[in-house]
Amino acid sequence: MSKEIKKTITINPIARVHGDATMTLEIKGDKIIRARTTSLYVRGFEKILVGRDPLDAPYLTQRICGICSAAHGVAASLALENMAQAKVPNNGLLLRNIAFAVDIIMNHITFLYVLALPDYFRPPSVSPLVPNPTKDYRLPAQYNQQLGQSYLQALTMRAIAHQLAALWSGKAPHQHGMLAGGFPLPPTAERVLESLSLLAQLKGFIIDRMLPDLELVGEFYPEYWLLGQGYGRLISYPTFPLDNRGTTVFKGGRVVAGKVLPLCPDKITEDVTRSWYRGGEEAPATGHTDIEPDKDGAYSWIKAPRYQGLPYETGPLARMWINGYWRRGLSALDRLMARAVEAKLIVNLIEDWLNQIQLRAPTFKPIKLPREGRGLGLTGAMRGALGHWVEIRGGRIAHYQIITPSAWNYSPADAKGQPGPVEKALEKTPVADPDNPVEAGRILRSFDPCYSCAVHTVTAKQEKLWRVL
């Protein structure tokens, strides 16, 4: 065999992801041998939260991410309720679930059509959809047109999903209904009815468009049922609480080698060996985030969350696998499919919840926060496992740590040299054109990247410029 050429390419910026990011690929012959994903910005939300009124956290943390705002609102509310040992009225939990679930639908529609599918179908020739990212478009004209129509419809549908969220939550993104203690808006028959009508449109779109469209993609791009498999270890947190005893619609857990195992949040740590932060492996309840920009070998602003020292992938695929709704495989297309399957499940759930709402039952009960205390809020967000760890002292936030789903997925390598799940999934991927590795883009996007969420924090004292890859 002839000697294979090795080359390194960097793609900057990666379009159709949330936030500024880049990826560097080492390609040997026609295979990716090593991949590194780097987030290119830092915001420092955890530092910003310190010293503030804890009740503000559900609103303020939503500002971390515009596309999954409700998830942060829910996690922060749960953390405070957990600290206060609050009894939230069930009606309030249902309404919060509805507002949150609709935001998930909005995300899945936006992600699949606006961010992911332009890699697979030739989008209409209108800026900013030209120039196209690839020449590898395989859908016959008729099907391509079908996806084009769905794309346009999706733009409206995602706005309708947010309209439904706002109907309950005041506005979206950054919903006002996300509060510790329940939900502020007592339901009325008229609102329930309007919701059901908006929901019917979403349901129609998901069943008539989203699922068939994805099946089509699966038919014409069959190799993606195999590519991008990663570690095969999945993690997910309990999602959509139904009462104060811990009953949730989607259960949390882990998947290792296809088997579902239980989850213990105490075993989660964050490693910063390859991130521009000081310290080693720390638990999120006590962990620090102090920057060290000249650190040897570091290459990302994202910390590396690990469960018992091992990297785990998270997302709708993890949620669907653990709850038994999608167990076909762990490839790039499985991730996309799991999202659509989840979207369908969730619209049905919302419908049930809307029917279960009691019109005159209480929805909100103010919580009593202790002067000192700790709280933990875990939920499944749009992109997977989201955790907020909060500590208050003297009635003020003294410590706040957030582990986002994107941190799990986009984590850099750790002390043991294990690359993050996305980096692992990119390894060994064959590429047709090493100068334009469209395959890498497709696999990376199958995780629904969101760097707004993934990046953590820096101290105000940092002076030096950080080094560049």
């Binding site: 379009a15 990212p133 506005k171």
Partner: protein
């Protein structure tokens, strides 16, 4: 329904509707749009020439992408109509199909071939100074004319390069206008708003967290059709930000009559639960959010003042009616800062209260006292803070060694 109307005016070069009328429509609720648009629709179809759309470059600095999400929430006109008929969105980090060099080339092509014609929209705050490289938005592709020699394109580099060449610069969202949540104390990434980063250029500020789709689309439409809109001292279009929430609020009569909500979720005015409506300029109560479905006070929660300069620091705590002032170390200058900040928020509310003092039930309510959750800060700390501040709840803060001062 703004859209067909815009088309009409474009086609007829403003003859059909004068700018003043257009602005009146912008200020009015959405229903007026649809009514007028329906009448004008047949006219529109004949006269509209989409090829005259102005090119737009949308740059994301340090943001949460919420303003893009909100922009896409526009339903009348829908985002597709906007893209195909109002503007030519050539570069948008999240929506565009191409990545890497292909994407950057589009940006530089527009900046040079459409110089003086394109509109620059910036979302997110801009890290400057030694933190400039906290936000990298792309690469320079070996193009000359930047302030720093490095190959990576920082957000500041991008907006100063593009800002010099653009016809209009529009900052969307409170992060881009004044720093917003990205620049909240202690401002870990060293961010400022776009106007501060580009002191020599006029920036049209469309604040909000996120900015309402109508505010962004309406301002864009004005830029395309008539050039710069009338703006206030903060650079905000007066069409949308000319009145306070409080003036337009549907629960204003509750305020006047002293009917206040006692806990979140209650009906009534949210003043006692921290509503910042009296000092926040925006038209949420009549425009309403997400295709007119709701707005925060109707959701039984307080307005948190997200369109105001100084959001979120000067608007916190959200659920108390007085500002929370972030003072890293209390110094003499901090007193001045505190006074100024308190003046902005408290004065607005105070004046209003003074006026309403004698009337209605409010006087009684005030005499009973407004509830404060936190105790006032201890003497050593308060000694240095003005009386205005002392009457409010202040905060204690870790000192530079991370110790908690109590």
């Amino acid at each position: 329904m703004l859209f067909p109307l815009v088309k009409t005016m474009w086609g007829k070069a403003g003859r059909l509707l004068k700018q003043a009328d257009f602005r009146r429509l912008l200020r009015a609720g959405k229903n007026t749009y649809s009514f007028l648009a329906d009448m004008l629709l047949p006219e529109v179809k004949r006269s509209w020439q989409p090829k005259d759309r102005l090119p737009v470059i949308w740059v994301e600095a340090l943001s949460c992408t919420g303003d893009t999400i909100s922009f896409e929430n526009s339903l009348n006109p829908g985002s597709w109509e906007i893209l195909t008929e109002l503007i030519d969105l050539r570069y948008h980090y999240m929506l565009m199909a191409a990545s890497g060099n292909d994407a950057m080339d589009v940006m530089y092509d527009v900046a040079n071939s459409e110089q003086g014609r394109f509109i620059l929209i910036v979302e997110g705050a801009v890290p400057i100074g030694d933190k400039e490289r906290f936000t990298i938005v792309g690469t320079k592709r070996g193009i000359a004319g930047f302030e720093t020699p490095d190959e990576l394109l920082t957000a500041y580099d991008a907006i100063s390069y593009l800002g010099r060449r653009a016809r209009h610069v529009m900052a969307v969202g409170s992060c881009a206008t004044w720093g917003g949540p990205s620049a909240a104390y202690p401002n870990p990434a060293g961010c400022v708003g776009v106007q501060k980063a580009l002191p020599k250029r006029r920036v049209i500020n469309v604040p909000g967290c996120p900015a309402h789709a109508d505010w962004m689309v309406g301002t864009l439409a004005h830029l395309v059709l008539y050039g710069e809109p009338e703006i206030d001292a903060y650079g905000r279009p007066t069409d949308f930000f000319g009145q306070t929430i409080h003036n337009l609020c549907t629960r204003r009569q509750h305020f006047e009559n002293g009917i206040f909500a006692r806990k979140l979720g209650d009906p009534g005015c949210y003043y006692r639960l921290g509503c910042k409506g009296p000092v926040t300029f925006a038209d949420c109560p009549i425009r309403r959010w997400n295709n007119t479905s709701n707005w925060p006070v109707e959701d039984n929660t307080p307005c948190i003042g997200c369109t105001a300069p100084g959001f979120p620091d000067e608007m916190e705590p959200f659920f108390h009616h007085l500002p929370d002032i972030k003072l890293p170390n209390i110094t003499t200058t901090a007193t001045a800062v505190a006074k100024a900040v308190a003046a902005v928020t408290a004065a607005g509310i105070g004046t209003h209260l003074a006026v309403t003092w004698g009337s209605g039930h409010l006087a009684k309510t005030i005499k009973r006292g407004l509830p404060l959750r936190q105790k006032p800060p201890r003497a050593g700390l308060t000694g240095k803070i003005s009386n205005v501040l002392r009457s409010q709840k202040s905060l204690w803060y870790p000192d530079s060694n991370g110790k908690w001062d109590r």
